[in-house]
Structure formats: C-alpha cells, structure tokens
C-alpha cells in the first residue's frame, strides 16, 4: 500500500527533514509514527499525501509513484487517502453536516446521494445529533469526529492522522482513538503520527515506526520481516517484498479496542505542533 525506498526530503532553507527512509506498509495495517517534535513525522505524512515530493529516493502510495505521478493525478490519490489534522481545518461558517457534505460536493457526488451519505458518515462517527450545529459550536472532540467523517467521505483505503488527539483532553482523545481503531478493525489502514509513547505502548500488535532527527531508528516489523531494499535490483513495479507474510494487523484482527490511558501526558498544544 505504501512503500518508501531510501526517501529523503531536504528543505532548501531548513535542511534535511527526513533522510534515507525505507519501509513498507500493508493494506489494513495500523501504524504509529512516533518521535519528538521535528523528528519528521509530519513530513512522512505529507510525502504519503503527495503534499510534498522526495528530494531523493522514491515512494509509492497505492499505484502512485512519486517520480511519475503528474500533478493532475494527485487529486485521485487524495480521494483514496483521507487526512485528519490536529487543528481540524473545518469551515467555521458551515454546520457539521455541511462540512462533511463539502467533501462530497468537491468530489462530484450528487446532492441526493450527498444527503444520504452525510447522514451515514455522521452516524459512523456517532455525531448525528450534532449535524446541524455550526462547527464553531462543537467541542474539540466533536470537531475531530467531523474531520474524520469528512476524511471518510471519499471512501478512502487509508487514513493519515497528524497528531489527531493533540488538541483533545484525555476523554476525547480516547473516544477519537477508539474511533480510529474501529475503522482499522473494519479494514481501514491508518497511519497516525503521535508522540504519545504511552498510547503506543498500550496498543498491542500495531506497527510502530520511530523517527529521530529525520531518521527511521526503529521499525517494529523489522524483527519479523526484512525491509524491502532497492539496492537488490528491484523495481517499483515489482517491489521486492518476500516472502509474503501474515499481516501484522488486519481487518480480521479481533484485538479489543485498546484504551487510551487517562494518565497519558497530553499531546502537543497547537503552539508546540511540529512543523516538519
């Protein structure tokens, strides 16, 4: 689903954001990207979402290759990859339902279909009763639910979440994490950037990629499977993944929803948000 081959991203002014990163994420996998602020978590998410391109190396998301995908193809990729922000990015003048409908309208869904789908999506995130509330009237947790519903509007195969609980209190954080987990159990691949190590520790069986100063310092999958290597004459058309292995966590996984500990230190406030 996602393959990174020696990917580096160097910003002209601030220097290297990530260096020589390689990993492979499978369909339906739940992955934590961990590390301190500035470690490169957001850069990885932006690279996956094609908001930025690698300076070196190559990456593939679904069937889109970083070196070959044209700008006009990127919207098609983004419809298959939902994005959840720490700071929500909701349109303040619109209601919860209108914010979700906005995503459907943008992607060309008919008005009648939009109404039906909005109802279904808000149900999915347990926010039907707030459908007509303006986004400015919603709590932070509710806002994040709307963002998730909006991200799900285009039927994505993958959800990217950049510190999604960063602005939430412990209770709301737990609700939102459980929502992500439920989506994962239904088959959705999730890549979540967080520096909440306690949450990562308490969530069993997930893939954890730990970053430090732009480098991948550990990958929980490495102990059980080798990382694909480009140097072995591989090509992106036929990634060198062998042998096929059992997914670390799949839709059939019956793991119970892990709880987000209430004594977990809160994730970063907006002012502390990483800019990588």
């Amino acid at each position: 689903m996602i393959q990174f081959y020696n990917v580096s991203k160097i910003h002209p002014r601030t220097g290297s954001a990530v260096a020589e990163i390689s990993f492979h994420l499978r369909k339906g996998e739940f992955t934590f990207l961990t590390g301190h602020s500035g470690a490169g978590k957001s850069t990885i998410l932006k690279l996956i979402h094609f908001q930025t391109r690698p300076t070196k190396g190559e990456l593939q998301v679904l069937r889109y290759h970083s070196s070959r995908t044209k700008r006009r193809q990127i919207p098609n990729l983004r419809r298959r990859v939902g994005f959840v922000f720490q700071d929500f990015k909701l349109l303040a003048g619109l209601t919860a339902a209108e914010n979700v409908a906005f995503a459907l309208k943008v992607t060309g869904v008919s008005r009648r279909e939009t109404d039906r789908k909005v109802e279904q999506l808000l149900n999915q995130v347990s926010l039907s009763e707030k459908a007509k509330s303006l986004s400015s009237e919603l709590s932070a947790g509710e806002k994040q639910r709307v963002v998730i519903a909006r991200a799900l509007a285009t039927n994505p195969l993958l959800l990217l979440a950049d510190e999604p609980m960063g602005n939430l209190d412990a209770e709301a954080s737990e609700e939102i994490f459980q929502l992500f987990w439920r989506l994962h159990l239904e088959g959705m691949a999730v890549v979540m950037a967080t520096h909440n190590t306690e949450l990562v520790r308490r969530t069993p069986g997930v893939r954890v990629l730990e970053l430090k100063n732009g480098q991948l310092i550990s990958d929980s999958a490495v102990e059980t499977e080798p990382l694909p290597s480009v140097s072995e004459g591989s090509s992106l058309e036929s990634p060198p993944i062998s042998p096929p292995q059992k997914p670390i966590l799949s839709a059939s996984n019956k793991n119970p929803v892990p709880e987000v500990s209430t004594d977990v230190p809160h994730e970063s406030a907006p002012s502390q948000r990483e800019n990588t």
């Binding site: 979402h49 094609f50 908001q51 930025t52 391109r53 700008r71 006009r72 990127i74 919207p75 098609n76 990729l77 983004r78 419809r79 994005f83 990015k89 349109l91 003048g93 906005f102 995503a103 943008v106 992607t107 909006r150 509007a153 285009t154």
Partner: protein
C-alpha cells in the same frame, strides 16, 4: 452552472470582502473613466483645430480655368491631401464681407475686386504635421499660375508641439492610472482569495481537481470586474452629466466613445479573471510544494 453557483456562493460567504473588492475596482475604474473623458475631450479639441490646417495657394490673375481644374485633380491624387477647394475671386470677396463685416462698406465701394482666386488644400488626419504641410506647400508652388502660398508655418508647428505634449502626458498619466487600476483590481481579488485560502486547502486535501477549485474563483473575478466596471461607468456618466448641468461652458463636453466604454468594462472583467487565475494558481501551488 455549478461553477456559477459556487461563484455566487463565494459572494455570500464573504459579503464584506466582496463589496470592498467591487468598490476598489469601481473606484480605480472611475478614475480611469474620468481621465479618459478628459483625454478624449482634449484630443477632440486639438483635432478640431488641426482640421483647420490648410495650405492656401493664391492664383495669378491670368490663369485659365481648365489649368485650375487639372491642378485640382493632380493635387487630390497626393496621399496627404484630403480635399482641394477652389475659391473664385467673387467667393473670396463674399467671404471677406462675411468674415470682416467692419470693412463691408469699403468692399462695396470697390470698383475692382482686389482679392485673388485661391486653392485651399486640406490635409488628411495623420498628415497635419509641419513636414507634410511643407511638402504640400512645395507641391503647390510647383504650379506656375500660383503667385503665393500661405499656411501659417509657426502656428502649425506650435499646434503639432501641443498635440505631441498632450499625447505624451496622456500616455504617461493613462499608463500610470492603468497600472494603479490593474494593481488595485489584482490586490482586491487576491485578498478575497487569500481570505478563503483555508477553504482552497481543504478542497485540495479532500481531492478536488485544480479546475474545480479554480473555475468558481475565475467566474467570481469576472463578475467582480463586470460589476466594478458597470458601477464605474454609472459613476463616470453621473459626473459627466453633473458637469454639463453645473457649468454652461461644459455643455459641448463629449461623452466617451462606445468602444472605449465597452473596452473598459471588458478589460475590467479580463483583469478580474486573470487576477483570480494567478492568485488561485499560487494558492493551489502551495499544496503541491516540491
């Protein structure tokens, strides 16, 4: 249709900014309109004077009528000459009596008409320059039945200088006003788009195609240009009407030519659209940073 609906929704979402934007466009175009009105009237006044530029050749007493007719045809064939008018001795006297009534009694007492017949050569627009006047005068001097040629040499040169200065000042001021108007329109459209940059960002993150994002803004830019242009046209017309009403000396003030009016409004629409294309393109580029 969807793009038009979205464009109109844009006005509803940011009513204050849209109003300010249209006002800024109108104001800049009113200034352009008033300048155009002044330039058009000054230019027209100078052209009126220029139309009077003529080269007059006075004929000898003994010339034959068929000689004059041939000369008339020959002179009319020159590219710079618009019209050759023959004024007989009798007509010259009648003109003098009409133009100089204080001498009418003297003319009546005359036994012999002292005024010569003459050929009056009018020049085509574009040839009313000192050089062309000189050349025409030389053509006329070439005929043996021409006794004297007059064309007000100094006056033509002064007129030409005034025309050149007026043209230069119009071009510089007009250019400056046009640049200011373009910048003002561009800035106001850009500000309106910047105010909705988050909306653009969200659309892109959701997976909107570039043209989906761009088209409503371009239509919005067009509508702003059109509304600004029409309001400016109304205000300029109002100012023009008030001037004519308030001051009798401005009674023969000319209104702008139709092609200027249509051109002005269409240019405003085009600038509105181009500004939107450039501004949205820049916003869109942010989500595809390399």
């Amino acid at each position: 249709m969807r793009h038009l609906r979205e464009a109109l929704a844009g006005f509803r979402r940011t009513p204050l900014l849209s109003t300010l934007s249209i006002s800024a466009i109108s104001l800049s175009l009113v200034i352009m309109g008033l300048f155009g009105l002044s330039a058009h009237n000054i230019g027209s006044a100078i052209s009126d004077i220029e139309r009077r530029v003529e080269v007059v050749g006075y004929l000898l007493e003994d010339m034959k009528p068929d000689q004059v007719q041939i000369a008339q045809q020959e002179l009319e064939a020159f590219p710079e000459i618009e019209e050759v008018l023959y004024v007989s001795k009798k007509e010259a006297l009648a003109n003098a009596q009409r133009d100089l009534p204080e001498f009418s009694e003297i003319y009546e007492e005359l036994r012999v008409n002292p005024l010569p017949a003459s050929l009056h050569l009018r020049l085509k627009p574009g040839f009313r320059t000192p050089e062309s006047v000189q050349i025409t005068a030389e053509h006329l001097r070439g005929y043996e039945f021409i006794e004297e040629v007059r064309f007000g040499e100094g006056w033509v040169e002064q007129l030409f200088t005034i025309r050149r200065i007026a043209g230069g000042v119009s071009a510089i001021l007009g250019g400056a006003f046009a640049v200011v108007a373009i910048l003002l329109i561009f800035t106001s459209v850009e500000i309106a788009i910047l105010a909705r940059s988050e909306e653009i960002e969200i659309m892109q993150i959701i997976g909107a195609k570039d043209r989906y994002v761009q088209f409503p803004f371009v239509i919005e830019g067009f509508i702003k240009g059109l509304m600004g242009g029409l309001i400016a046209l109304g205000l300029t017309r109002l100012t023009y009407g008030s001037f004519r009403y308030q001051f009798a000396e401005f009674d023969n003030l000319l209104w702008l030519p139709n092609n200027w009016v249509v051109g002005g409004v269409l240019t405003a629409c085009a600038i509105g659209m181009i500004s939107a294309v450039v501004s949205v393109h820049r916003e869109l580029g942010r989500a595809y940073a390399t």
